[in-house]
Subunit: 461 residues, 2 copies
């Protein structure tokens, strides 16, 4: 840390007076709070504050606003585009101690949680209620962070993204005022949709401190299956037909041949090394049987091999473990390397073409990059496994990623299906929505005129 | 119309030069364009323009911006809270001629339409594709108007509101620039959710000229049923249990005893005069059978009478006609009177209590007000049938409506589930979201600094 100016001392003094030991400037903590799970290097904040209530967050924001210091909200730090980097210094506001499940209303299928509650913590809390919260981005992320990032994941094909599963938010605005968006009604047309404006705004428009979430009934029956395909076309064609047929599949995850090989090696499995779809079906026993049967017929028509089935919880967990381990399997193929998960989403009719072109591009690039995809949504990731120290390789990966985004945009897709923009994708956001950036910047300036909320992310002002 | 100033002549001249006969100042047309379907009196604009393209809308907005004149976009005029009233004069921008279905992508279950396409027109267009657009607010509204209003209706319990069924929008902003929000990907985390910000903004932040919509597969099987209940509690309890059980009911509409009596009288039907639910189930044949059976069991446990079933299209249409005619049935009970449909939404656990208290309040008020509700969402309407000339009666209705909103808010609900704010509910919006109004006003000022887009609606600036 550089020498503190008097102004900095005033700012830290004011925070310290309020927070005591919950304000820290320990170098290791600063370094850790300046990085997320991505390849982006740490950009350390000047201090880290651990908040314990909405009112405390409001006071912290007021102090930072008075001193013109950035505030960067942080949950579990599992973002992937540098969302938490302190590009202009300031305070990392750690919300992980705000981890209370405030209330569960089983009758209304809703709950209220503090922002630091993680999705697994919530589902553990709900276990005996017959309810669950379906959004599963992979990481055990905080729900506040998931909302701020616009997260989704494997279950979105059936249950929607977090965007469709938030009823309302408590938000601290840039002037330290506390506001409540949405409410407990299942729907509302009462004014501008400030809930959705905050979702995906990555802490740049306000700091989410509490969320009211929709819950869903735990399905009566669940069945999982794995099916390999000789050709990628058949796998993606199956996904497309399942969606077009209106089969309410709960999960439909593609792993390409390269990824299946990695999964086999990490976990000592013997799946055929070919494009493979992991399915999950939720419903009544009869409903699940019908969905499974119809999906099986489609897969067979598309050249799929026999389904491997799992219906009891233990077998299902084992089967899905292969999918859940995809990321670690990929990076374990190259000791010392880092994973860089890219994230595009295209119309499903273009998905096979987009993946096949991308696989050719990966081959030509000489990079190692298995593919996993939430194929029901047209969303897929390359896991670029790179040596972060090798500048030339990093640049090749950057170029590959830029071509991937360009390809997705040319097909009517988006530069990010679920990871968000952070500062890593600001150039791509301009490429996709250049016409909209002035309006986004106007909204940012309106709600954060001093530019203190996570500055330098999403849109430059 | 008052005498025109020179400035007005310049403004009309510029518009007229661009639009020719598609600009009108005919008094009857002005009067008609200043009113919607509600009890709110007409507030006539100074002129009406019929736009035929996005570029033309942009030019019109630029002309109005230059002259500081309001622009009030208008679809079918079926709004219910004075959304289209020209409170500060200006131009009514009629979009009904922009009624082309631009493209349908059956493989991706999406389509692009101009804002003036109505929902029935779109579904007629889609008839042979195996797809349909589910949002049904009752009126054959324009899709642009439905998005601007945040509409929903009978199918929302299964398919979501229009909020969840728009992938992207073409919008003309207050400076006449044309922007595209969202895209063709099923999901995206690319920057602020400008699509959802425009949805429900009632033309105050931008003018929607095109919409990219999600489509759904026409269900293989459809079944409808009607079930009466001796007590309202049993009817609402049935709705609550159906939702909690995760039965994917497509429609679940409550008509109270007063409304059933009106329906019987209008259409010569013989339904028992009691709280009644109209159900519709969509799915595979087996799925529909299972949903129907489980719902029947729940209804019986809750004291419901036998189901009247309809499975073929003709019987279903006849059965649902009673529900579709509810509004006309209600107003036909009192010749010369007008209908004033109110609109609140509460957590479903409070719905029975809210409706029962409201029925007592209606009885005490001496007003005639049948109740219909999208009970799966907790959303219900009183159809206040009033003599618009009777000031005292109107004030009693206003007071009843205010108590209804107060009751809904006290129960954690919203002042409008689907009709929107217009200028009729601005006071209630303040009651519900007073803390948020400064942020809403900041967004309005940021995107419409001259306050020319439908001024005086939603939020005062």
């Amino acid at each position: 840390m550089t020498a503190q100016t008097e102004a900095d001392r005033d700012w830290l003094g004011a925070l310290s007076k309020r927070l005591g030991e919950r304000l820290s400037t320990a170098p290791a903590l600063l370094e850790q709070h300046g990085r997320d799970e991505s390849y982006h290097p740490s950009e350390a904040p000047e201090a880290v504050a651990f908040a314990e209530s909405t009112e405390e967050v409001a006071e912290i924001v007021r102090i930072c606003a008075r001193h013109g210091k950035p505030v960067i909200p942080r949950g579990t730090g599992t973002s992937l585009e540098g969302h938490v980097a302190a590009l202009s210094g300031g305070l990392s506001l750690d919300l992980t101690r705000m981890n209370a499940v405030v209330e569960v209303n089983a009758e209304d299928l809703d709950c209220m949680v503090q922002a630091g509650v993680t999705r697994k913590q919530l589902n553990t809390h709900l276990r005996d209620t017959g309810l669950f919260f379906p959004i599963d981005p992979g990481a055990d992320a905080s729900l506040g962070g998931m909302a701020a990032t616009g997260a989704s994941g494997t279950n979105a094909v059936r249950y929607g993204t977090i965007r469709e599963n938030v009823l309302g938010l408590t938000v601290v605005l840039a002037d330290g005022s506390v506001v409540h968006t949405g409410g407990r009604a299942r729907k509302s047309s009462a004014g501008y949709d400030m809930t959705r404006l905050m979702i995906g705004s990555e802490g740049t428009l306000g700091i989410i401190t509490e969320l009211r979430l929709k819950l869903h009934g735990q399905p009566e029956a669940v069945a999982s299956a794995v099916c390999g395909f000789p050709e990628l076309d058949g796998a993606v064609g199956t996904a497309m037909m399942v969606i077009q047929s209106g089969i309410p599949v709960a999960r439909m995850e593609l792993l390409d041949d390269v990824q299946m090989d990695a999964v086999n090696r990490l976990s000592g499995l013997d799946y055929p090394v070919q494009p493979t779809i992991f399915f999950e079906f939720h419903g009544s026993a009869a409903g699940v049987a019908e969905q499974s049967e119809r999906t099986g017929e489609i897969a067979r028509e598309m050249g799929g091999e026999d389904f491997r089935w799992a219906t009891n919880a233990e077998e299902r967990t084992k089967l899905w473990q292969a999918r859940h381990d995809a990321y670690y399997a990929a990076i374990s193929m190259r000791p010392g390397a880092k994973g860089w998960p890219t994230d595009v989403c295209v119309p499903i009719s273009r998905l096979a073409e987009c993946i096949l072109e991308t696989k050719r591009d990966i081959a030509e690039s000489g990079l190692y990059a298995p593919i996993v995809g939430h194929v029901g949504d047209g969303n897929f990731h390359l896991i670029l496994v790179i040596d972060p120290e090798d500048r030339e390789e990093f640049e090749r990966a950057e170029a590959l990623n830029a071509r991937l985004v360009g390809r997705a945009l040319a097909m009517g897709g988006t530069c990010t299906g679920e990871h968000g923009v952070g500062y890593g994708k600001m150039g791509f956001l301009k490429q996709e929505h250049g016409d909209l950036l002035p309006a986004m910047a106007a909204v940012k300036r309106a709600l954060d005129p001093k530019n203190i909320l996570n500055p330098g992310k999403i849109v430059a002002v």
